[in-house]
């Protein structure tokens, strides 16, 4: 079993188009899950009636059912209602909904940890609820819970490989398609494994840099943010898949 490098170099352009699709889906989905997650977290922290229960159910359902089934449901189940989505659209929607549910939990850890005194002082200054959300809860909550969210974001990138099952032409699909052509299974799989590892480790490193930028480390020592916030929100950086 020798590694055929020439073959891989020939196949690189194809893999590159696959990688582009993976990145495209991942970036959009991460952005959308950020929005969904943050709004969900704020709604649940403020305990807005009805809406907060709805989000609770959404988060529980998504977190306790497999992503692959969401994908199949959206792709094969929705056409019965007359909603026919392209594979790429299904990929983005499924990943965003999945990432959004996990991000909502991540961010809630942060928004819940914003000291109530800060919110009350905002109120006593005469800020509207929206201003309190915009200037107090979101910025503080985001900084506190960014490390947890970064794990979710990396998982979104990894899980974009699920979309190969409905034929989105992303990295895994491109590779498997090529394998069906010339049976260079060994070279191809090792190559995409390396690409995924570089991608995942690279993004983890990038998020690590952003975490430092956000002063999380300083905040922990009580210099940046109020140290008690971090104390209250004991971080358990574990990746979810």
């Amino acid at each position: 079993m020798s590694f055929d490098f020439g073959y891989i170099i020939d196949a690189l352009p194809l893999l590159l188009t696959g990688l582009k699709m993976t990145l495209f889906i991942s970036v959009i989905s991460i952005a959308l899950s950020l929005v969904i997650g943050m709004s969900g977290a704020v709604v649940r922290t403020l305990k807005i009636p009805v809406l907060s229960q709805v989000i609770g159910v959404y988060v529980d359902v998504i977190r306790n059912t497999p992503l692959l089934v969401h994908v199949f449901f959206l792709y094969f189940g929705l056409p019965a209602f007359g909603v026919k989505l392209s594979a790429v659209a299904v990929g983005i929607i499924a990943l965003s909904l999945w990432g959004g549910a996990f991000a909502a939990e991540n961010f809630r850890g942060g928004t819940d940890a914003v000291p109530h005194a800060l919110i009350e002082s905002g109120q006593s200054l005469g800020l509207s609820t929206w201003q309190i959300v915009r200037h107090i809860i979101v910025p503080l909550g985001f900084r506190i819970s960014f490390p947890a969210f970064s794990n979710t974001a990396v998982s979104v990138i990894k899980n974009s490989a699920y979309m190969t099952s409905i034929g989105v032409a992303e990295l895994t699909f491109a590779a498997m398609d090529r394998i069906a052509y010339d049976f260079k299974t060994y070279e191809m799989l090792i190559t995409i494994a390396v690409i995924y590892l570089l991608l995942v480790w690279g993004t983890s490193y990038l998020f690590g840099r952003i975490e430092r930028k956000l002063d999380y480390k300083k905040a922990k020592k009580g210099r940046g943010l109020n140290g008690s916030i971090i104390e209250k929100f004991k971080l358990s950086p574990r990746r979810v898949d």
Partner: protein, 217 residues
């Protein structure tokens, strides 16, 4: 409903397959994860490096890729595996890597004075680990390990991609059969059923994990 009663046995077979796969992965992953996690706190730098590399590797790879690697590459190396066995191997690798990190975190959260006390009363370092550190660490790692269990059960659905006949696959076959024989599309109802079944299995687990988190903090 009629479809359901007609295919009940077939669907149940799939569900049993899923449960068996989950349980076997769980057993292997717990054992392997525990060993790797403990070794990550070992004194030898080389061992720690290797074990951390193992964890980083299988946490970094998408599960789909690990699955394909095992399923397609083991036969090329002369080891014959069917889809069930390769799903078992791949999911155990991934899950044990995640569990090992939880184990390491829990062990390192135990104050070092505990280790010193164990050594001071004359226990060997293995005995200290076994009788002093691990009993305390296991309680601390329980919530996250239960969370990972639920992730593992959900991830067994991925074995469909390499052709394992699990619950999701049996549902897909039923959908196809009904569509061919009767020209009816029951995809929406059937996938809702799958969602419901997974939810019923995983939701109690996540509730348990949440409760434990509250108890042990």
């Amino acid at each position: 409903m009629e479809v359901l009663s007609k295919n009940l046995n077939f669907l149940l077979d799939g569900l049993i397959n899923t449960i068996l796969l989950s349980l076997s992965c769980l057993g292997i992953a717990l054992l392997l994860g525990m060993i790797v996690g403990v070794l990550q706190t070992a004194n030898s730098k080389v061992v720690v490096r290797i074990m951390k590399g193992y964890a980083e590797l299988f946490r970094g790879l998408p599960i789909v890729i690990t699955l394909f690697l095992v399923f397609f590459l083991l036969p090329e190396m002369g080891i014959q595996v069917n889809s069930y066995i390769s799903a078992m191997i791949a999911l155990s690798l991934w899950s044990s890597a995640n569990i090992s990190v939880a184990v390491r975190g829990a062990i390192q959260s135990i104050p070092p004075t505990q280790t010193e006390a164990g050594l001071a009363i004359g226990l060997s370092s293995a005995q200290t680990m076994r009788y002093v550190i691990l009993p305390q660490a296991i309680r601390r790692m329980l919530p996250s390990v239960i969370g990972l269990m639920s992730n593992l059960i959900q991830s067994t659905s991925l074995s469909v991609l390499i052709g394992n006949l699990d619950f999701l696959k049996s549902v897909q076959l039923v959908i196809e059969r009904v569509e061919l024989m009767e020209g009816l599309s029951i995809a929406t109802q059937m996938y809702t059923l799958v969602l419901a079944v997974y939810f019923l299995i995983c939701y109690p687990l996540s509730l348990l994990a949440k409760r434990m988190e509250r108890v042990y903090r």
